[in-house]
Every structure is written in structure tokens, then in C-alpha cells.
């Protein structure tokens, strides 16, 4: 069973072999002062897959996402994005390269409406300058309206038409999560990072969210990396799973293989000494 850890030698799922890497993380280590958050982690995310990152609390999952979208800078290791080694970059540069993200604790813009929140995802795609916007004429207005159409498509897709003009601070948690997904989708990303998209949801909401994630993946072909604690969801949704514990990678592979791994079982249930 321990073979899973070094699964590179084992024959893998067909698709992992066929598809090319969207993102590769090689030997990445990250520490804060003396505290090691991530130690020597390597894994890859293939184009078009749903990749789950799981592990107990404090395993370094969120830190990993933060590294991927440029919020933390690892002390060691390289990140390869679409075949090119990435230099140290700011979060907004990662965003402009096509990495979008949702957050563990909803990070919506509380003072804005659902519509404006999702419109904010279009920021990078809008170009018209300050003076044109000020006059609200010609190109600036056309641009706003064009993007509004796109945003309305996302609103339809996520079935949140009714709350279009509601300030997001007033929405229930489940809907906020949905709006946050919408905002990330509005960026039309190549890679979508979802940090616990189903935390704190009831069964129906989880089912809805799972459906949206699968739809996004299949309809738009968006690659998704998600962190989730609900193992049922992870096993059903994801194509491949990487397991972290105490900042180290302990397993990587297809959901079924990972589930059977002794190291993973030990990490979740503890080991008797």
C-alpha cells in the first residue's frame, strides 16, 4: 500500500498520462520565521482535470493555494505554469495569467451587490480609461454593457437571478459561497482554485455546489483544484487527489487508491504506538 507514495513508477490513470501539465509544483518549501508550513512538496495539475487537495487541519493546504496564486512566496522550489517556470510574482499577476480563486472564509466585497461582485471579476478584461468612464460615453459604456451580458450568463448559470441587486452582506452563507464562485468564474480562468467550497453547507447546498463544479469543469473545460473536507464529495468529484499532512505530501493518485493508502488512514485516524 505504501507504494502509493511513490506512485510515479506505477501505471496511472489514462488521462494523467495523456494530458499535459497546466501547473507543476516542484520541491516547494515555505516557512514563516521558524515554522515550516510546507516541506518539499511536488505535484502537478493536468489540463482539464479536477484535482483535490486534502489533509487534516493545519496540513498546509491553504498555504499551498496561497503559493500557487502568488500570495506567499516559497523559499525553495519552482512553480511551472503552462510549461514555463514562473518567476516570483504578485497575486494580481497570477490573476492576469488566468488563476482565479475562492476563499475558505467567504471573501466577497461586502458593500457591493451580487451583480457588482461578479462584475468585479471582469476587471482584468476591461480596458477603457478613466476619462471615458467619467463621461460614460461611447466605448466605456459599450464595454460595461458587454461585460454585463457575460455576467448575466454566469448569474443564469448559477441560478441566482433573484439576488442580483442584493448587497452580498445580507445573503445567507450558502448563497455567498455561490456568488463567490460566480465572481471567480467571471474571470474566465484557466485554473480555478476552490478553498473548501462546501464548508458549512447543508446537503442540498452541497449537491448544488457539486453540480456547479462538475458543470464548470465539463462545459467550460476549466481546470479545478479544490480543497475539501467532505470525503464523499472529494471522492465523487475529483479525478486525482493529493494528500498533505504536516506540510508534507503523503499520497497522490486516483481517489480510490488514496483512500486505501495506509499513510492517509494513519494521518486521519492516528497511529497507535
Amino acid at each position: 500500500m505504501n507504494a502509493i507514495i511513490s506512485n510515479n513508477e506505477l501505471p496511472q490513470d489514462d488521462f494523467a498520462v495523456e494530458r499535459e501539465d497546466l501547473l507543476r509544483v516542484d520541491n516547494v518549501s515555505l516557512s514563516f520565521g521558524g515554522v515550516k508550513a510546507i516541506t518539499n512538496i511536488s505535484f502537478d495539475i493536468k489540463k482539464g482535470e479536477i484535482r483535490a487537495i486534502i489533509g487534516p487541519n493545519g496540513a498546509g493546504k491553504t498555504s499551498m493555494l496561497n503559493v500557487i496564486n502568488g500570495f506567499y512566496h516559497p523559499q525553495e522550489g519552482t512553480i511551472t505554469w503552462q510549461g514555463k517556470v514562473r518567476r516570483k510574482m504578485k497575486p494580481y499577476e497570477a490573476a492576469s495569467q488566468g488563476i482565479a480563486r475562492t476563499f475558505q472564509n467567504v471573501a466577497l466585497f461586502k458593500g457591493m451587490t451580487t451583480l457588482d461582485n461578479i462584475m468585479s471579476g471582469r476587471s482584468l478584461k476591461m480596458r477603457k480609461n478613466f476619462f471615458l468612464q467619467m463621461a460614460w460615453i461611447g466605448p466605456a459604456r459599450t464595454e460595461e454593457i458587454e461585460h454585463r451580458k457575460k455576467v448575466e450568463e454566469i448569474i443564469d448559470f448559477l441560478e441566482i437571478e433573484a439576488i442580483r441587486k442584493t448587497p452580498v452582506g445580507r445573503l445567507p452563507y450558502g448563497l455567498q459561497k455561490r456568488v463567490e464562485l460566480g465572481r471567480a468564474l467571471a474571470m474566465e480562468p484557466d485554473l480555478l482554485l476552490l478553498d473548501e467550497p462546501m464548508a458549512g453547507m447543508n446537503l442540498e447546498e452541497k449537491e448544488d455546489m457539486s453540480r456547479f463544479i462538475l458543470d464548470v469543469n465539463q462545459e467550460f473545460g476549466t481546470t479545478i483544484a479544490l480543497i475539501e473536507h467532505d470525503m464523499g464529495v472529494v471522492m465523487d468529484l475529483s479525478d486525482r487527489v493529493v494528500v498533505l499532512d504536516y506540510g508534507k505530501k503523503i499520497a497522490d493518485g486516483a481517489p480510490g487508491d488514496v483512500q486505501a493508502s495506509q499513510a492517509v488512514i494513519d494521518a486521519y485516524l492516528g497511529v497507535s504506538h
Binding site: 496561497n66 500570495f71 476563499f103 471573501a107
Partner: protein, 317 residues
């Protein structure tokens, strides 16, 4: 020009050491007073996360109450005790009317509330005591007056005002007392608990309201001491309010939650300001005291945003 900036001031310092020492002393005393104002800010910030903009006006208000009572025939020491009582009532009132309804609001809202409080207290203070400056009753309170001149061999004199020495001593006593209060007593522990996490503190049975009233009262006492000292040096007037803004750069240097930080920050600003004004101010026309402190703080912020004694902040998402 370069000579004027980089060499001449130092030559002057060496050539006239008595004058330089005098400047240092002035800086020290100003620094102590800034530190006292900053101390009031730190107390409240530590316990409630509120940046109390009204600390400056509380200093004026305390001073005015003391002087005002004395003017109306109350003996000096009785007036002092009554003023302490007034600060207690004020603390309770602020906790009741301002702080309690605003619990858990964002920092910026609380800051603005204390700005509102400042305005209210300015209006109220002027309404009751009038707007003109008043003389502090330092002598009546038994504070030393007069001065001592130290001869420095052949090089001249350094004059120390007794009231300044008293201010320094009182500041040191207050800081020590507050340090003991924070670290050794039950209320001090509760205070630090509240500062860390309101809800957790509530859940172990600490009364938030009581703690806040105590902190505001302590800050009121610090304000009273500051008011007496500052008033004895100049006058008790609303002009002090502008001086209180100097506490902001002091806090930036020292960190918002550190008592020793407030003292050291205050001294740095005090020294920096006086030396800068005397030796370099003339080059640009003087009067740079009004903004030098902020520029020092600004430069500091760019290199060490957490202050001298603060911990590095790691942002999380």
C-alpha cells in the same frame, strides 16, 4: 549648503556642549510628555482595540476641571480628588453611551466615534469652563517650582526646571505602576484577555463593560497627570489638543500596544524634534517642529510598519 546640513550642526553641538545638553534636556521633557499622552492611547488600545482620538481632549478636560474647581474656591487637593471622580464618571459615561453600543464594529467606525467624542468634549469643555487659557495650580498641589543650574566647568550652565524633573519622576512612577497593574493583578490579566479576544474573555466570565470602564478611567488618570504636568509648563488651553496629535507618530514608533514602546517612542520624537528644530530647522525657515514628528514616523513606517516593539504581521486569507 552641504556643509550646513552635514557638518555645521555637529560642530555646533561639540563647541557648545552646555547648549546641546540643554536642548537634549528639553527634548527629554517634551518626550516624556508625549509619552504620557501616548500611554493613555496605549491603555485603551490594548484593552479594546479602540484608537482613542479623544485622549488629547481628555488631557485638556482633566486640567480644566482641576483648575476650574480651584477657581471656584475648592481647595487644591480636594479639587484633585473631585477631578479624579469626574474622570471616573466620564469613563463610565463613555463606556455606557459610546463603547457599549459600538462593540464589534470595525476599527475605523470606533475611531470616528472617538473623533465625535472629541468634538463633544471640546464643546462641552468650552461651554463649562470658557475658551481662554488658564494657569495650572502647580504650586498649590505641592509640585516643586524654581530651577537648578548645573555648572559644567568652564563651558557654561545647564538649567533644569524642577517641574520638569517632577514630571519625569511621575511619568516613571506611572509607567511602573501600570506595568505592575497589567502583569501582576487579576484585573490586569483580565484586561489582557479582553485585548486578545473579546468573546473568549466573555466566555470565561470576564465582564467586558467593567474592564472597559476601568481602562477608560485609567486613561483618564493618565490624562489628568499629563494635564497637570503640561499645564504647569505652559497653560491649560485647548491648543494642547493639537499637541496631542503628536501621540500618533509616537505610537507608530513604539507600536500601538506596547507601554515601554510608548515611552521610548515619545523620547525619540521628543529628542528628534528638538534637535532637528534647533540645529537644522533654521535651514528651511524654522517651525519644522509642527511636522517633523510625522515625517519621522512616516519614514519609519516604510521600513518597519509594525513599530519598534510590535510583531511582524503575517496576512492570512
Amino acid at each position: 549648503m552641504l556643509y550646513d546640513i552635514f557638518i555645521d550642526p555637529f560642530v555646533q553641538m561639540v563647541e557648545m556642549p552646555d547648549f546641546f545638553l540643554q536642548v537634549l534636556w528639553e527634548g527629554f521633557v517634551a518626550g516624556i510628555l508625549y509619552a504620557l499622552i501616548a500611554l493613555g492611547f496605549v491603555l485603551i488600545f490594548k484593552a479594546s482595540g479602540v484608537f482613542n482620538f479623544a485622549q488629547g481632549i481628555m488631557v485638556v478636560f482633566a486640567g480644566l476641571t482641576l483648575v476650574g474647581l480651584h477657581e471656584n474656591g475648592v481647595p487644591a487637593f480636594l479639587a484633585l480628588i473631585l477631578t479624579i471622580g469626574v474622570m471616573g464618571v466620564l469613563a463610565y459615561g463613555i463606556e455606557r453611551v459610546v463603547m457599549r453600543p459600538l462593540v464589534n464594529q470595525p476599527d475605523i467606525i470606533l475611531l470616528m466615534a472617538t473623533i465625535g467624542l472629541t468634538y463633544f468634549l471640546i464643546g462641552f469643555g468650552e461651554f463649562v469652563f470658557g475658551g481662554e487659557p488658564k494657569r495650572m495650580i502647580a504650586e498649590e498641589l505641592g509640585l516643586p517650582t524654581g530651577s537648578t543650574a548645573f555648572e559644567m566647568g568652564e563651558r557654561g550652565l545647564v538649567i533644569l526646571q524642577h517641574i520638569d524633573i517632577a514630571a519625569a519622576v511621575i511619568a516613571i512612577i506611572m509607567v511602573t505602576a501600570l506595568g505592575i497593574f497589567f502583569n501582576k493583578t487579576r484585573i490586569g490579566r483580565a484586561l489582557r484577555a479582553v485585548a486578545d479576544d473579546h468573546q473568549a474573555a466573555l466566555s470565561v466570565g470576564i465582564s467586558l463593560n467593567q474592564i472597559w470602564a476601568i481602562v477608560w478611567f485609567a486613561a483618564g488618570l493618565v490624562a489628568l497627570a499629563t494635564g497637570i504636568m503640561w499645564g504647569a509648563r505652559s497653560d491649560v488651553s485647548f491648543a494642547l489638543e493639537i499637541v496631542a496629535f503628536k501621540a500618533l507618530p509616537v505610537l507608530i514608533l513604539g507600536g500601538f500596544t506596547s507601554i515601554p514602546g510608548a515611552i521610548i517612542g515619545g523620547l525619540i520624537i521628543g529628542f528628534g524634534e528638538k534637535i532637528g528644530e534647533i540645529y537644522w530647522g533654521g535651514l528651511v525657515g524654522g517651525g519644522i517642529e509642527s511636522w517633523l514628528a510625522y515625517i519621522i514616523a512616516l519614514i519609519f513606517l516604510l521600513f518597519r510598519p509594525q513599530g519598534l516593539f510590535g510583531e511582524k504581521i503575517i496576512e492570512r486569507v
